[in-house]
């Protein structure tokens, strides 16, 4: 018999025996509607919790900041203000090969270094009125992993303000307080436990304090940042005594003399005004990092190459025709160093003397490195954009020392390639890793550690994972129940239909129906009734998802208030629309499952039907 007529017969049967047909249709309708509602609402609750409970935390939970930086010293100030801490860069430099290795870890979507931008003077006056803020630890950040620090767009577009993520640890005001005196002595060896930072801080005339800020008003603000320019001249001189340092204010004449000396030294080789004028760019603040361990501010890596290129080119353009003697490099003129592989900042050793670095590498630092220089009575100047070519130092070099004090390798000349930053091997003490799903975080952390990258996961994503797992399980259970129940329903009801149709089957067989015809007849019936139930369930399910969106929202909001509000600070209100989304993916899954199940499972009663003998047509009772 033709399939079209087989279907016609079943449709006529359905019309005649509506009530009986409902034994199959209604359960399928119910299952489909339930499946749709549960999977859709589980999905909706999932995304609502992502938005409301965790906000960007869920997204940030996909990121791991692997850093070798360590924080030591300093205590949280009682006033709740930002404390001043001593920050030492990590003792390991990660390179592109580490990035490659980590990228190979399962479920790692991408990994990138945050490469320090080796510019020694980066300042802005636009953040806080009357105060200049240094952003000395500026690093590059890949757009793909920017979610670690910002929820806003971090891509660089030429001609538009450049996105920047500032570090709150940089919000430090530096000032001098001589207490009305011209001389101050700081006792360094006065305490037994060695240098006590707080004591020095109190005694020294150079003060720094954290600036209070309002994060919300900073975000979105456009600021101008200057790169380069000469360091301000010291306003004091210092002398090492047996137990400490004596600071003495310079007189106006002395200051003028220093300025004249610097100008004449630099002018031989550079246009003084040009070298003293910084590059400026307009930035837009898209994020504020507030972290005890992270002291870096970030700019897009796509912009960093351009910046470094311009920075070095500016120095090259300012050069006079006079050749710089090699022996003045790293002794009179300091700058970045390039050993053919790595481009490094000049560190802080080049200035000579004892100096307080406001917001230096990872925050304020006191560097007492310059004693050798001061004793040789030679003044050094940092030239912005100057790249000193050095010999490559092979072997075990201390990354931290190099970063802070600069390379100690022999200078061989000036590098005149402005693209040297782009070409150099990038290294950093931080790699940011993006995981494809927050649920895989613990596995990635485990794999990181077994790959030799020590990382202790302090981020508490457990609650989120648990909720996610619960909701996934609910959907999974509903799906499994859906499969089992629909299969059972089809087998049982169709089995019943077959037993009740023994006479009918016999008559069909007597009239010439083959076993195949009978199979077709019952499979068509099972599939047709299932599909009718499916359509009904889909329609009812879709409508119910919309109808219950509001009650689910109310339940969800009260659930949030009662349970997780104390754990998570950020709680936004949801709206009913968030719970009116249909999980089309599961809709598709259920549709496919139902068709497959109806076909597979109806084979059983269909075979049973085909085995019914034609003698059933004429049978002695």
């Amino acid at each position: 018999m033709k399939l079209s007529y087989v279907n016609r017969i079943n449709f006529k049967k359905l019309k005649k025996y509506k009530g009986k047909s409902m034994f199959l249709i209604i359960p399928v309708t119910f299952l489909m509607a339930m499946g749709l509602i549960v999977s859709s609402q589980a999905n909706n609750i999932m995304s609502a919790s992502k938005q409301t409970i965790f906000g960007t935390a869920a997204e940030a939970g996909r990121l791991i900041e692997l850093t070798s930086a360590q924080v030591t010293g300093g205590t949280q100030s009682e006033q709740g203000n930002q404390s001043i801490r001593f920050m030492f860069g990590g003792d390991t430099n990660y390179t592109d090969s580490d990035v490659e290795k980590i990228s190979g870890i399962k479920n790692v979507e991408s990994a990138a270094l945050t490469v320090p931008v080796p510019i020694s003077r980066i300042e802005t006056n636009d953040l806080f009125s009357g105060t200049s803020v240094s952003l000395n630890n500026l690093q590059t950040l890949n757009n793909q992993i920017s979610a670690q620090y910002t929820d806003q767009n971090f891509s660089y577009t030429a001609g538009e303000p450049i996105p920047i993520i500032l570090n709150a640890n940089s919000f430090i005001k530096n000032y001098e307080d001589w207490g009305g005196q011209d001389e101050i002595t700081v006792n360094i060896g006065g305490t037994r436990r060695g240098v006590n930072p707080e004591e020095i801080q109190n005694q020294a005339p150079f003060k720094f304090e954290a600036i209070s800020y309002d994060k919300n008003s900073l975000i979105g603000k456009e600021i101008t940042i200057s790169f380069g320019g000469l360091d301000p001249l010291q306003t004091y001189e210092q002398e090492f005594t047996g137990t400490g340092v004596l600071f003495r204010k310079l007189t106006a004449d002395q200051k003028q003399a220093n300025e004249t000396a610097r100008q004449s030294a630099i002018s031989q080789y550079w246009d003084y005004n040009a070298i003293n004028t910084p590059l400026t760019y307009t930035f837009k603040i898209v994020g504020i990092v507030e972290s005890e361990s992270n002291r870096a501010s970030y700019i897009p890596d796509a912009f960093a190459n351009q910046l470094m290129n311009n920075y070095i080119q500016k120095q090259l353009d300012a050069r006079t025709d006079t050749e710089i003697p090699a022996d003045s490099l790293n002794s009179t003129f300091y700058g970045m160093t390039y050993d053919g592989l790595q481009l490094q900042s000049g560190g802080f050793g080049g200035i000579g003397g004892f100096r307080v670095m406001g917001g230096g590498q990872g925050g304020p630092e006191i560097s007492a490195s310059g004693s050798a220089d001061s004793s040789s009575d030679k003044t050094g100047y940092t030239i912005p954009g100057l790249v000193i070519q050095t010999e490559r130092q092979e072997g075990d070099t201390d990354a931290f020392q190099q970063r802070v004090f600069g390379s100690s390798a022999t200078a061989t000349g000036v590098n005149t390639d402005s693209t040297v930053f782009d070409q150099s091997v990038h290294s950093s003490d931080t790699i940011v890793i993006r995981i494809n799903d927050i649920g895989n975080r613990s596995q990635v952390v485990k794999d990181l550690n077994s790959a030799g990258y020590a990382y202790q996961d302090l981020s508490n994503q457990e609650v989120f994972s648990q909720l996610q797992n619960t909701l996934h399980n609910v959907t999974r259970i509903v799906t499994v129940a859906f499969i089992i129940l629909s299969a059972v329903i089809i087998v049982l009801t169709m089995g019943k239909f077959v037993s009740e149709s023994r006479k009918e089957i016999g008559v069909f067989r007597a009239l010439g129906a083959t076993k195949g015809d009978i199979k077709k007849l019952f499979m068509s019936q099972a599939i047709m009734y299932t599909l009718i139930g499916y359509i009904g369930g889909a329609v009812i399910g879709l409508i119910l998802v919309l109808i219950i969106a509001k009650p689910v929202q109310l339940w969800f909001d009260s659930f949030i208030i009662n349970t997780v509000k104390e754990t998570f600070a950020v709680v936004q209100k949801t709206n009913a629309g968030a719970f009116a989304h249909i999980d089309w993916e599961m809709f598709g899954v259920y549709t496919a499952l139902l068709v497959i199940i109806a076909i597979l499972v109806s084979i059983v009663p269909a075979i049973k039907a085909s085995r019914i003998s034609p003698v059933q047509a004429i049978k002695n009772e």
């Binding site: 033709k2 025996y17 009918e504 007597a510 010439g512 076993k515 015809d517 004429i618 049978k619």
Partner: protein
């Protein structure tokens, strides 16, 4: 003249629990073409079993069934189905019309099972409805018809594929006297006009008088 129905040593055993029941015991019959026959017997005589075997609804335990020169007990299930569809028309005591189908659809069913188009099948069904004077029932379901009408529709269904034989199982058993007479007349007419052999089983002795060939069955055996 060739035989339309012929059996040789036809035997059928059933398993009933632990014991075997011999329903038919060594039946050999022959019915010439274009002749009718009635099989008569009481309940349990084996007449229904004989009809099942002759109609290709079941296989014998032993012996041969030759219908229209074809030994049907050797056919596989598909070929036997096709044989039933084309060679035999069945008429049942309780009509066995599908209650969800109209008169036309019921009559067209054997043609549709044969894979014919609906158009062709319905055309044939309408012609048959005209022959049995039930044109007004074309689109009526069995529930709207009288017993006599239903049985006429059932006979039309049996006729649909132009079979060689119509096998009727107590066709009047569920009808009143007038209707029964009409049905028997219809059979006579069909047999005469279309050259179809009618094989009828009944327990009614009076019916046997209408037919030349009468087989008496008793406990699975032929009674002379």
């Amino acid at each position: 003249m060739a035989n339309i129905i012929e059996t040789r040593g036809l035997t059928k055993e059933y398993q009933d629990g632990d014991s075997k029941v011999l329903a038919l015991d060594n039946i050999s019959i022959a019915l010439p073409e274009k002749e009718n026959m009635v099989i008569i017997g009481t309940s349990g005589s084996g007449k229904t079993t004989l009809l099942q075997l002759l109609g290709g609804l079941d296989y014998p335990t032993s012996g041969e069934v030759i219908i229209n020169k074809q030994p049907i007990n050797k056919l596989d299930d598909n070929k036997l189905s096709s044989f039933r569809n084309k060679t035999i028309g069945f008429v049942f005591q309780f009509f066995n019309l599908q209650d969800y189908l109209t008169a036309r659809e019921n009559i067209a069913l054997p043609l549709l099972l044969d894979g014919q188009s609906q158009e062709k099948a319905f055309k044939r069904a309408e012609d048959l409805l005209k022959q049995i004077n039930l044109e007004h029932r074309t689109n009526h379901t069995p529930a709207m018809m009288s017993g006599g009408e239903m049985q006429r529709v059932a006979i039309a269904r049996a006729m649909a594929n132009n079979p060689k034989i119509i096998m009727a199982d107590e066709p009047t058993g569920n009808l009143d006297k007038t209707n029964a007479e009409n049905i028997l007349e219809l059979f006579d007419e069909i047999a005469k006009k279309q050259g179809v052999s009618i094989l009828m089983i009944t327990h009614d002795e009076s019916m046997a008088r209408r037919y030349k060939n009468v087989l008496h069955l008793y406990k699975g055996k032929l009674k002379k």
